[in-house]
Symmetry: C2
Subunit: 228 residues, 2 copies
């Protein structure tokens, strides 16, 4: 799972040591691990809030509690740091995609998938927002992922959809239209959380409201493609 895709630009220089660490040089793993964690966490917040261009390495370093020069010790460039953040999101995205294959019944599979994506948006709103922003910008960093892993993922699931339709278990629908609807609808609960809060009297959706939304989204989409 550590070779999701290979970025088109420079082979990432921020990788951990090439392979299994020689067991000898494992000296003081604390500093590196902890600093990278803090920096990635801070970066996620700042990037989500201000976007790639709006984020400054100084702000990220400050939020992480380290001097800016230290940030550049661990991540050579702002783009490398951004790339690292996006790669974490990528893993979460793929993990949340797995439930699609949980069942061969379309209602179950779709419900599981939509539910997982809703939960992802709820649990990792910052990461989700960064992902959307990246896609919206034309995927400057994850283009290669779109070309390979995502294309394959969609192609494979498209077959399942076609099979379901042939078997009369699903209304005829273009698989991609269905996926786009699912992606958009679930992402919305991360992307538009602020708008939702405003329309909710200024308060963010509480767990009950979110769970109800999840149910209704599932019912509507699943019902929309299965009720004959």
């Amino acid at each position: 799972m550590d070779q999701l895709y290979r970025s088109r630009s420079e082979a990432k220089a921020t990788d951990l040591p090439p392979d299994a660490t020689p067991a000898v040089r494992r000296a003081r793993p604390t500093a590196r691990a902890e600093n990278e964690r803090a920096l990635l966490e801070a970066a996620e917040q700042i990037f989500a809030e201000l976007g790639f261009a709006g984020a400054t390495t100084a702000a990220i370093a400050r939020k992480a509690g380290v001097p800016k020069a230290n940030l550049h010790y661990y991540f050579a460039t702002k783009e490398a740091l951004y790339r690292a953040v996006v790669e974490r999101v990528l893993k979460a995205w793929l993990a949340a995609a797995a439930p699609f294959d949980a069942s061969d019944d379309p209602s179950e599979a779709l419900a599981a998938y939509i539910g997982a994506k809703m939960d992802l948006a709820r649990a990792m709103p910052l990461a989700s927002r960064i992902w959307s922003a990246e896609i919206m910008r034309g995927a400057p960093i994850v283009q290669d992922f779109l070309d390979t892993t995502l294309t394959d993922w969609v192609a494979a699931r498209e077959k399942a959809v076609v099979r379901w339709i042939s078997a009369g278990k699903l209304k005829p629908i273009d698989a991609r239209v269905l996926f786009y609807m699912i992606w958009a609808t679930t992402q919305q609960y991360a992307n538009a959380a602020h708008e939702m809060a405003t329309l909710n009297g200024g308060r963010p959706l509480d767990d009950a409201a979110f769970e109800q939304a999840k149910r209704q989204v599932i019912e509507t989409i699943v019902g929309g493609v299965t009720n004959f």
Copy 2:
């Protein structure tokens, strides 16, 4: 229609002359009108591509074909220019919301509304993307619109939805969940156009594919909330 909302921060200084122009000072309206148009168009492109922070006034001026100092003659600050762009989007958004009231039949109303929003995303992808980005950032510029016009719009339509549900014309669903689904799904065709193109063999959706998507989105959502 020229008083959509009033921004919270500084009363916009980029307004056209306060009222009906005194008819005398209407001298040479050409330069101002044409320059503002070119600047707004260029700004829309750059803002959509790079976001607010990533956009530079130099790049916008260059694309508009005027010196940077001239840009600042017409729009005092980058934010004022951005605000002007966002206000244009706002009008388009509201115009596309009108079809919701075209019918008192939920299937018809929703189909008209979704269709209009899909068309908007297709016809003005840049503007649509800017709108999404603005919402995603927490609506720094249009917060006041969310608080007033949008809140009212939703409240009013929420009543229609409740009425439809009471009349047994609609499955029970939270009106806002429905709106969020519609907004997200339709926006997707502007926001994720690049992703869609990638999954479409690198070619953007052609008109036929888009029209099919529109039909299927309408069928799925409308079917999802009306089929019993």
